[in-house]
């Protein structure tokens, strides 16, 4: 610290350091506090759209039945996957019937499209079906 130039330099370093701390703090707080709304809106719309597409999957004929007959065990998981392969591009899926996973492949992470619906069983009971597909 022998002259004015040194002092200006030290002041500048402290100022830039403080500014950097403020900016990093700002982005950290913003990423935690502010909702990612645009992403949410897009996800909601895409979810509804693909949900109806996933329903149509259960109408595809398999042998002399349809995919929906998987709820009574008449359609196998491999047959279900064959149909899913033709209709959707996916990296993982999970099909749950009455809360129990009946068929699955891979690990569901993000970009999940989901549809929940009910199907009748032969003995008047209802099966709750849930299909999640991850792109």
């Amino acid at each position: 610290m022998r002259n004015n130039g040194d002092m200006w330099a030290l002041n500048s370093v402290i100022a830039v350091g403080l500014i950097a701390i403020f900016l990093i703090g700002f982005f950290m707080v913003a990423s935690l506090v502010l909702p990612k709304d645009v992403g949410k809106i897009k996800a909601s719309v895409a979810d509804a759209d693909s949900g109806s597409q996933l329903i149509s999957l259960f109408r595809v004929p398999v042998r002399n039945m349809v995919v929906a007959d998987i709820v009574r065990g008449s359609v196998s998981c491999s047959e279900f996957e064959n149909v899913l392969d033709k209709v959707h591009t996916y990296s993982a899926y999970s099909l749950k019937i009455n809360g129990k996973t009946s068929c699955s492949k891979g690990l569901i992470k993000d970009n999940v499209l989901k549809v929940d619906f009910a199907l009748p069983l032969y003995d008047d009971r209802i099966a709750d079906v849930s299909l999640e597909v991850s792109k």
């Binding site: 610290m1 004015n4 040194d6 002092m7 200006w8 030290l10 002041n11 500048s12 402290i14 100022a15 403080l18 500014i19 403020f22 900016l23 703090g25 700002f26 707080v29 913003a30 506090v33 502010l34 909702p35 709304d37 645009v38 949410k40 809106i41 909601s44 719309v45 509804a48 759209d49 949900g51 109806s52 329903i55 149509s56 259960f58 109408r59 002399n64 039945m65 349809v66 929906a68 007959d69 009574r72 549809v115 619906f117 009910a118 199907l119 009748p120 032969y122 008047d124 009971r125 209802i126």
Partner: protein
Amino acid sequence: MMSLLKNRKGMDYSAFLVIVVFIVCIYLFVQLSSKINVFALSVGDQELALMNAYGEGDKLLLFVDQSAKYAVFDSVRELASNGGFAPGSEPCGSVGPVGVVVSKHSFWVKEGKKCYSDVNVYDSFDSVLSGNLNSFLLNSPFSVFKNNFEFVVDDSKVMGIAVKPVLIPVLVSPENRLSFSSILVRVADEFGVAGTGVYAVRPSFSVDAQTLLDNYELVQDQVDVLLDCVKTGSLDACVKSSNSDDFKWAYQQVTGSSVFVFAVRLNKFVDPFSKDPVYIKFALHLPGVRVQ
């Protein structure tokens, strides 16, 4: 260090920069928050509600399709075991279960009267099918009216269509409902459901199934032949002569009476949901007949 602190120009300039950046960050945060909150509740909400309503409609149609498939095959089986009559509409009543006869059999012939003459088996099938479809649909998560379907039955198909539509409400997100309160009230008054609109669906179905309802007439003709046959021959011989590729006959006598119960197996009926064969069951009152 002391000389650094004494340099007022350097200190003022740095502090000024830091304070400006701090204020800009706060301003930016407030602006972002306010703008994001504006978009969060409204963009695409109504469109999304409409798409969800269509999705619900698809779920309903799939549920009806599957229910109809089960109900049709159930109905063929139930109608056959009730002798071609809708339950409760047997013109001459029924017999059983009694003794070795373990199930109920509707009378086809009683005290010389042919009870099947005035009964249309197609009407009976519609009635049974309507009841079975009700039991599936009234358990469903959808508000479907009771006895709401009309049916068309032909040789290889059973088709049905709802008379009254099922109303599915178009529901915006709960946060936005307040701004649609007047519309919600109008829709509720007119349609009886709460929503910003209503998606009306008339479910229909077509099930590939051979109901073999024409077989009842063939079996009734064979009963006419049997009634003539037993006048001269034994019941056992007459029943054996009735067997064919389409039908296999079996009978039992109700102990201590002149009532015989029959089970005619429909050999050509194929039920994809049950491996059990289907039998047309009925009872004949045959006083004075020779069994063997």
